[in-house]
Symmetry: D2
Subunit: 427 residues, 4 copies
């Protein structure tokens, strides 16, 4: 089966466009497209507590529209199945009890076919809603629902990778695009920035998550930012230099994990006779030295930076540097499904796409942050503790989803996302 390049084109197109309605249904269609290479069995299993089954993603994003939009704004709407709220509510305490997260993989019922019918049912209702006079609050919720579903598209792919990596047969989600050779490693430069009192956070034009605001001033000291992400070749040098065996490079919590879980390489790496290989959405592949390292924890990113005599950038340094960078890069629409070597050229590359970049910033509320009222207020605010901010999107972030102010966040031990790093230094 060769699905590659064409598969996710709609998403790319749609992101450039146009009406809310078009973007909504393009997003809905993309989710279904992403599930298509998978068997119904693939869609039900859950490899670890952090991951969710594909089918659950498909149903949860649908329930999101049903619970927060249709029940409220579409007259006479009757839910597809009342029991789905228990099955597919993720973490909305305000809504009620739910299937425990580690047991999402037990939901063989409703079946994939029924979930597809659920999607069609809700899509039809969404069409009916568009035939009405759309309230601004409804439009806002649709926009939120689109962005929500895009987030789950990325998770769907990283979660299916966690499943396939745990399977002895190591299946590929998709064959690799032909003609993508191992790249040449671009030289590493540092680009200088003056800093100062800078405005950060979203300015309110267009959609943004509540956690990106309020826009406010921040004091940024002069700094230098690496022109590209850290590569696998550089990571191999770190390993060869005993990086995973040198406690003084590590945060204490990180070192405990390194010892307790025998970490000695990024997630999914294995030693083979021909050098390291890493499980990917294209199956097991030799590690490409010129591509960005990925599937690393914050602890590893931080230790590497210390080893390299550098540090991680803060999220405001990153945002400052990104302000003049075009909002484009290798994302889901490119269809590679893995990070690749940067193009050669001047200045910053890979800021958008390829890998999420760990920052040195704890995920905390901006000054004056207020969570949205109601259940959707649980979307971001209640996670503002114990996590770190990542910036820039990845090779599986849907086009149109990323912003320069976008704040992704994960726990410092988590590695199953397409996470990487870019070095920074004081000026």
């Amino acid at each position: 089966m060769n699905l590659h390049s064409a598969a996710f084109a709609t998403a790319k197109t749609s992101s450039d466009s146009s009406s809310l309605r078009d973007r909504l249904f393009a997003t809905r269609a993309l989710s279904s497209d992403l599930a298509r290479p998978l068997s119904d069995e693939d869609q039900v299993a859950q490899a670890m507590d952090d991951a969710s089954p594909t089918k659950w993603h498909l149903a949860h994003t649908t329930w999101f529209f049903e619970a927060f939009l249709l029940k409220r704004f579409l007259e006479n709407y009757r839910v597809f199945d009342e029991r789905f709220e228990y099955c597919f509510n993720s973490y909305y305490e305000s809504v009620g009890p739910r299937q425990p997260r580690p047991k999402r993989g037990l939901l063989t019922r409703p079946g994939a076919e029924e979930v597809r019918a659920y999607r069609a049912f809700v899509d039809a209702a969404l069409e009916r809603l568009f035939a009405t006079d759309l309230a601004p609050a409804a439009a806002e919720l649709i926009e939120l629902g689109i962005n929500h579903e895009q987030q789950h598209q990325e998770l769907l792919l990283t979660d299916i990778l966690s499943l396939f990596a745990a399977e002895p047969l190591k299946p590929a989600y998709r064959d690799a695009n032909p003609g993508i050779a191992v790249g040449e490693t671009a030289p590493l430069d540092f680009v200088s920035f003056a800093g100062g009192i800078v405005a950060v956070g979203h300015d309110g034009n267009g959609f943004a998550y509540d956690n990106e605001g309020p826009r406010h001033e921040a004091l940024v000291r002069p700094f230098k930012l690496a022109s590209r992400c850290v590569t696998n070749a550089e990571w191999m040098a770190f390993i060869a230099d005993g990086g995973y065996a040198t406690p003084t490079l590590w945060l204490s919590d990180g070192w405990n994990l390194v010892r307790g879980q025998d970490w000695n390489a990024p997630l999914y790496w294995e030693d083979t006779e021909g050098g390291p290989a890493q499980m990917s959405l294209n199956g097991y592949r030799p590690v490409d030295p010129s591509a960005p390292v990925t599937h690393i924890s914050y602890y590893e990113a931080d230790a590497f930076a210390r080893w390299a005599g550098a540090r991680l950038p803060t999220e405001f340094e990153w945002e400052t540097a990104a302000s003049n960078v075009p909002l484009e890069g290798r994302m889901l629409g490119a269809g590679h499904l893995r990070p690749l070597a940067p193009a050669r050229g001047k200045g910053l590359s890979q800021m958008i796409g390829d890998v999420w970049e760990w920052t040195a910033s704890a995920y905390l509320p901006y000054p004056g942050f207020k969570a949205a009222p109601g259940a959707v207020g649980e979307y971001n605010g209640k996670f503002m503790c114990n996590q770190f901010v990542l910036r820039g999107g990845s090779c599986v972030t849907p086009e149109g989803h990323i912003r320069r102010t976008y704040r992704n966040f994960f726990y410092p031990h988590q590695r199953w996302q397409f996470t990487g790093l870019r070095l920074a230094k004081d000026a």
Copy 2:
């Protein structure tokens, strides 16, 4: 969908019959029949470490024939897929490494369709083997393979029940047979036995597992055995009398479980407005007072017996009492898939079928026991520790599988099998 009574008839017929070949393929067909009401998704999930996915059962029983029989006895046999040995070896250390048991539910690959093809491939090879001059050792392994697959048929059903009980939608594996009314509770009598020096264990005529022999003499004291199993009505009296809240009724290890896991009823029981209900292969149903209590641990059986002023029988008491009982009862072929009230009548009833009966006997080797040579020697012997013997088969034991000398064994805390109890007393 109404599948009931006809579904498993072939098994019953075949067990009465005839040639090894017929029994083999009837058994193979029954496994496929049992999986048929289930979606491919149902077949991949695993609700707990003790249980295995349906698909895994289907593939493992097939691998058993491939690994122990075909590779050795069928000339030029080439395995279907070498990687399946890792996927579907259960616990044969002699054979090699295997998918960790708690992660069998991650095997979305090979898919259910491919596993069905695997079954067909191996069945065809088994046919070819029958076309050859069958070595006695091969015939013995086929007999073992039949019995092995029958065991997994029972597990397939109890494991799917554990899955469906864990699902919020509580699906029924099959609708209940119509016309099975709640029964009348048969009176409880005690039947007396003289004991003495009795011969126990299998005499070598026909197939038996190695753990049923050698046949040997045992000293059995005079005893009395209850005419039927303990009923749900009696269990409700135990609950009402504070059975789960009275430490002096319990073994110490059992009491720790009662407290630590908040046990207050058999597994799958829930209180409803209309009284207790219990998840079953026929879905959630009101508890039938006259039916045998089931899904109880050894600890609960032992505590109940103490509360009732009785005790559990030893396995040799049970075997002695069973010696004159016809080898028939409500088993898988009856199609009820749950234990039912006994027929009224004289003497012992329900000895065969309905529920496995916990005995007071630790699962230990008989005097002179020797495990079979080679990998199949791991079948029984290495589990002779920490478990208790159960006797008599259950409502989901395939016809032809049970013997009066049959020793089933489970850990004393386990409850997901169709386990029940019958009281005994000193004469």
Copy 3:
């Protein structure tokens, strides 16, 4: 400090003697003697959940007399401190709640000095009780209390060994007796026994625990029993032959422990340049090849026997063989505090003392067993599950405590007692 040989002489003498009163106070004095080499700090700590602090043993055995004897039989007795019941009740559910077992090591209060005062207070009350007309039921409880305290004397020593083995400074409880050279290994013979219908269990003459009765007939097949225990030299051969790396030698539950906990030798063994050494009550010492192996689990004993082409004896085989053996051996009074090489000679040696011998018998009630009424009925019966019987006493069993019918019991994974094994074979 050189305490050795004289230290525990009183116990030995007293066991031979005389009146209940003398034996009681000799036993009480011995407990205090055993604690004397220990600092107050040593007496408060608890190395693992299975072990108890010395101070706890001293107080619990005292509470036993207070709770079951003095409160009932000594007029106007007022307890020393009502709160001690919570602190020092071990597992008597009938008596009430208690300090959780894994938290006994937190009881810095009452202090050791106060516990010594508690002992003196209760001893004085016991003296007053002896000045009264002692009811037979009281005398029975005193006898039980003596035996109970003797059991705790053994535990006190094995528990302090578990603590000292966990300490980096590896202190010795006592210096080794001088002049105990490494012994010569006695040759291994097998002694034959005819078996038959034999009477086993205690006959009611003199004290015995309830679990030793009722005396009853058992059918014992002809068997052979090794003339001595398995030695360290033999164990080293087992290790050298890959015993800990050969799964087919092991029970399944045992093999999981071997893998999960990296067992590769008996507990407390470490490799040193000069060969294996083992922590003991005499401190770290080279392993004596001719001494019985000790600190092994049931799983290890069972695997060794399989490797040696033999098996473990049943408890009734052991009891049959012991019937003509003098009730003497190296026990606590000998003052060695570790097992030693057997004397050369004909027939069975080391049956009594040196090491507890694992048998193949699950710890279950004898036919007709009834637990004693009241709280002391919790002494033995509620543990009759999941454990195995050991016979014969050890190097730290107090004189006068052991009987040929004595049934000790531990879980098959436990290793901190002075456990060893003796081989058996079918005749």
Copy 4:
């Protein structure tokens, strides 16, 4: 025993003073004073992994001087016992392996007496060092050692409280000072601050930990800070209003703890007939409504602030507000050993002493932070992840130890320190 007010006077005096030498030995003496009310048994036990035994604190602070100062700067110094490095190294990976933290409570050897001798031995060596020409680097390490030991003085007390709270006899570390009545609750005001570009962090005059620098500019928005800490009375209102049962008040990680560990009040609180009581260093006492709430986690502080329509201050807001506050308050020298109601008056009270105040700031390095070279570089930097900053010291912080720039840090779930909170709001 009535030890109260005089006990810790030396510390207070010494903190005001004078020479390094005087401060060193006053600090050393204070540690010994703090241990004096405790038995040797009290000093060896460990109630939980986070806490350490008193004896361990006494020895570890001594080892700190030996390992980092005496071995390097005192000619011909020979260590007291080489094995103590393994016993009493806390977390210095550069130094070598060590007793696992959760097993510090097993160190009955060396005994308390020997540890006292160790302290005397090292104190004598420190005296000898002062007789030499003290190198500046040595003086710096002595200063660090003094501050290090002061930190452990606070921990010694909070750790002994965790032990005594876990003991059924609930001993008091010291009787309460007489004449400390329940106070009147001071009214709650908010004091306004203008913010701006402010200088934060230590300016290098006098001792500070490396994590307090470099001093740098921060942008602080206008804010208001509560005039006093949140009181127990206010906390009772939070409880009464369902604070512990309202998920929308909580961070997600906090809510999981509330549910998983059944939190419904601060640590050590229990309901009694006369209202809530809380274990303290003065034993069990009724909760004083006017005193600051203490023994709360970050999660609880954050939830309370949300409930109160306020928020926690950032560490820079706190530091800005503290800049004009006198560096005095109820600390260890006051001898109360628990927080008390604030004095009435204008402006901010309780900024110093009483309870550590959780801030909204994650514990992260300041811009330009570099850990000190060598092993002492492990002191602070490697913990800069997953923790939150607390400010202001507590009722058991030694005088002279606190600074306005002092950054204490704990994990958000930890509650055994004297932690409380002060509300803040945007201006």
